[in-house]
């Protein structure tokens, strides 16, 4: 009993509880909005949101994993930067630049055979994303420019640059999308097509999920190991907690700031590759003047996962899950943007975690006091 109480009062449970509290409150707010809009269908609509990806069967779950993949990567990007004291809102720009690099490699470097082609595309994407984050990193470390503003600027510059370069090199003008990559550049299915499909008539309606999800999970595990099991990760976290103290301890905090931004950029760029290297049936880059939403959805994934790489895997899958449900909401005449509203509420309440973390120990303490009083009276 004492061990259980110790665990309950510990930090880990507190963190998870505050995330769950944020999620519940966000969902509740979404229910209220549904009720205000269309009370008759609200319950059914909420049911669809909760059923999420399952609404469209096994293929739906496959799509959940497919769209969770870039979210895990951008979530890792934002979360890794968070742990080191930086706010990487530039995940969107790094994502799209990485995506372009991957598509370009996929379309033009056809001299490489199958496994090397897509591996080269992934490396190109990571390098491009890292390069895109290098500039804000250097500006923060050496010129004291606040990384929020510089990364936001890089987002817009990245979007326009990617659009321009796509139109220049890999454009499919008939559909205003990027071209199909060579088949050798498509990420292998890795057996996922045997699990995630709906039977359609005589054939299979296969989900677009592929081995990208495993690469993403592997990246998360790698980040977890780096942050918690290496000296380098320890130094990065120290810089995040207190820059001056780390410098006093001899850690080169300028180098660490630049390196964490670059790693964060590489993760986001890799996410871009994993989403768009899915063959002709999967996603293509739309050439419009709109910032990549996957970059911004990485922020709630990171916040809900409390910047812990393993937690980010779960929170990204959760966000992808309700987003798939949201798309299905259109059948009930609801606007799918309700999901974005719910996610925004979740982030808003997740910032209250510090406050919430003081409630649970207080409740436990009151229970303990009441028990002690009853023990004295009897």
């Amino acid at each position: 009993m004492k061990k259980a109480r110790e665990i309950l009062a510990g930090d880990g449970v507190n963190n998870v509880m505050s995330s769950l509290f944020a999620i519940l409150t966000g969902l509740l707010f979404g229910l209220v909005v549904l009720l205000i809009t269309n009370p008759a269908d609200a319950a059914a609509g909420f049911g669809i949101i909760l059923k999420g990806g399952f609404s469209t069967g096994a293929k739906g779950m496959g799509q959940v994993l497919y769209f969770a993949t870039p979210l895990i990567m951008t979530g890792l990007s934002v979360g890794f930067a968070f742990k080191t004291g930086l706010f990487n809102i530039g995940a969107s720009g790094q994502f799209i630049i990485g995506a372009f690099a991957a598509i370009y490699t996929g379309v033009h470097w056809t001299f490489l055979p199958a496994p090397f082609h897509w591996i080269a595309a992934l490396i190109a994407a990571a390098a491009a994303g890292g390069l895109w984050a290098l500039i804000p990193g250097l500006m923060k470390a050496f010129l004291n420019v606040h990384e929020v503003i510089s990364t936001i600027m890089m987002n817009y510059i990245g979007m326009y640059l990617a659009n321009y370069l796509i139109k220049l090199t890999v454009y499919d003008s008939k559909k205003a999308l990027s071209m199909n990559t060579a088949p050798s550049a498509v990420l292998p299915k890795g057996g996922m097509d045997a699990v995630f499909y709906n039977s359609l008539g005589g054939g299979k309606d296969i989900s677009t999920v592929n081995c990208g999800i495993w690469i993403a999970v592997g990246a998360a595990v790698l980040m977890y190991l780096i942050l918690n099991k290496t000296t380098f990760g320890y130094e990065l976290k120290a810089c995040g907690f207190n820059k001056e103290a780390s410098r006093y301890a001899g850690i080169n905090e300028k180098r660490n700031i630049v390196l964490s931004m670059v790693i964060a950029g590489m993760l986001a760029g890799l996410g871009g590759a994993l989403l768009y290297l899915s063959g002709p049936g999967g996603r293509h880059i739309k050439v419009v003047d709109v910032l990549a939403a996957e970059g911004f959805n990485g922020i709630p994934a990171a916040l809900l996962g409390l910047s812990n790489p393993i937690g980010i895997i779960f929170s990204a899958i959760f966000i992808s899950y309700i987003t798939q449900g949201g798309n299905y909401l259109q059948t009930l005449d609801f606007v799918p943007e309700i999901i974005d509203i719910i996610i925004a509420c979740i982030i808003y309440f997740s910032a209250f975690s510090l406050f919430f973390r003081s409630i649970l120990p207080r409740i436990l303490r009151k229970l303990r006091e009441r028990k002690a009083e009853r023990g004295e009276d009897s």
Binding site: V33, T37, F87, I89, I135, M139, L143, N144, V145, H146, V148, I149, S150, I152, M153, M154, Y156, I157, Y160, L161, N163, Y164, K167, D289, F296, I299, P300, L303, V335, E337, I338, D340, I341, I343, A344, C345, I347, Y348, S350, A351, F352, S353, L354, F355
Partner: protein, 319 residues
């Protein structure tokens, strides 16, 4: 000559919203709260104002419609920013996270309400622009200045400049301004002489909300005939203008005009002869304001004198 008039008029349309929103950001940061949600607040203000105009333009038109829309935008901005104020001041939550949440909420909310309430179910809200003043009665006929500043104008432009004048006065010549600045530099010292830091910070955030809401409406009205749940990143540009202006109103004016000019060049380059002939494609021109911002920030942030306690939640117990 008409080209010069066009460039100056367009610059005003782009600069005044930047000026107004940056002044709002200045008020909140001088009080000690970082308001990243300026972009979201602009969207909320623009949405409510434009939606009101869209619904009422059958019955009213002209400047009176615009004035009521302005009041609505400001009120909605103030209320929206209360969310950030509560999160930052009462809950002592991370101000950047709260601001990001509001930034994500605003366009989703605008699209949701537009698609639900509009009969055709689209997310763009269109409106008729009956507010352009082709020439101010007496001043529009002055030789050079008339053409530059008093023709093809909107009252929102003059309102923005009025707000600038009021801001300079309030910040530097009133008791409220002095106390607000104190709360941003050293809230513990301000608290020790009896200033209610929480109330001051609330005031700062609410002012920024009102100004941002107004800025959103000012941005949309002259530059297009429909609102599509976005302000093209203006809220963030306004933050950069504020930093470039070192949190001082007159420098912010200069910075806002600089960026307004960059944006005008970016969007009107086809009308300017020697630029249209060059080989740079449209996308590069769209990048120019943001690249210029980066370069300016690179040079101006080294000696940056932000208010010392900005972004740190005020805790009475700490030193």
């Amino acid at each position: 000559m008409t080209l010069l008039y066009l460039v100056v008029q367009q610059t005003m349309f782009f600069s005044i919203p930047l000026l107004v929103v940056a002044l709002g950001g200045m008020f909140t940061e001088r009080g000690g709260v970082t308001n990243i949600a300026l972009d979201g607040t602009m969207i909320m203000g623009a949405f409510s104002g434009i939606f009101f105009i869209n619904q009422m333009q059958g019955r009213m038109s002209g400047q009176s419609l615009l004035l009521i829309a302005i009041l609505i935008s400001v009120s909605v901005g103030v209320v929206f920013s209360l969310l950030l104020a509560y999160s930052a001041v009462n809950m002592k939550a991370d101000q950047i996270i709260g601001g990001t949440a509001l930034n994500m909420f605003a366009p989703a909310f605008a699209i949701y309400v537009a698609r639900t309430l509009q009969s055709n179910g689209v997310q763009q809200i269109s409106f008729q622009n009956t507010f352009r003043i082709s020439s101010v009665p007496l001043l529009g006929d002055l030789p050079l200045i008339g053409g530059l500043f008093f023709r093809n104008a909107y009252i929102t432009t003059y309102l923005g400049l009025l707000i600038l004048a009021v801001s300079v006065f309030v910040l530097y010549r009133t008791r409220f301004g002095l106390r607000l600045r104190a709360c941003g530099e050293h809230p513990q010292a301000a608290d020790s002489v009896g200033i209610n830091v929480y109330r001051m910070r609330y005031a700062g955030v609410m002012i920024s909300g009102g100004l941002a809401g107004l800025g959103g409406l000012i941005f949309v009205v002259p530059t297009s005939t429909n609102f599509n749940a976005t302000v093209a990143g203006y809220g963030f540009l306004a933050l950069a203008v504020m930093i470039f202006g070192q949190w001082k109103p007159l420098r912010i004016l200069f910075a806002a005009f600089f960026f307004g000019l960059m944006k005008t060049v970016a969007s009107a380059y086809s009308a300017i002869p020697f630029l249209a002939g060059s080989f740079l494609p449209g996308d590069v021109y769209k990048m120019i304001p943001f690249i210029a911002t980066l370069i300016v920030l690179a040079f101006s942030s080294g000696a940056s004198r932000a208010p010392r306690a900005v972004g740190v939640p005020y805790d009475k117990g700490s030193r």
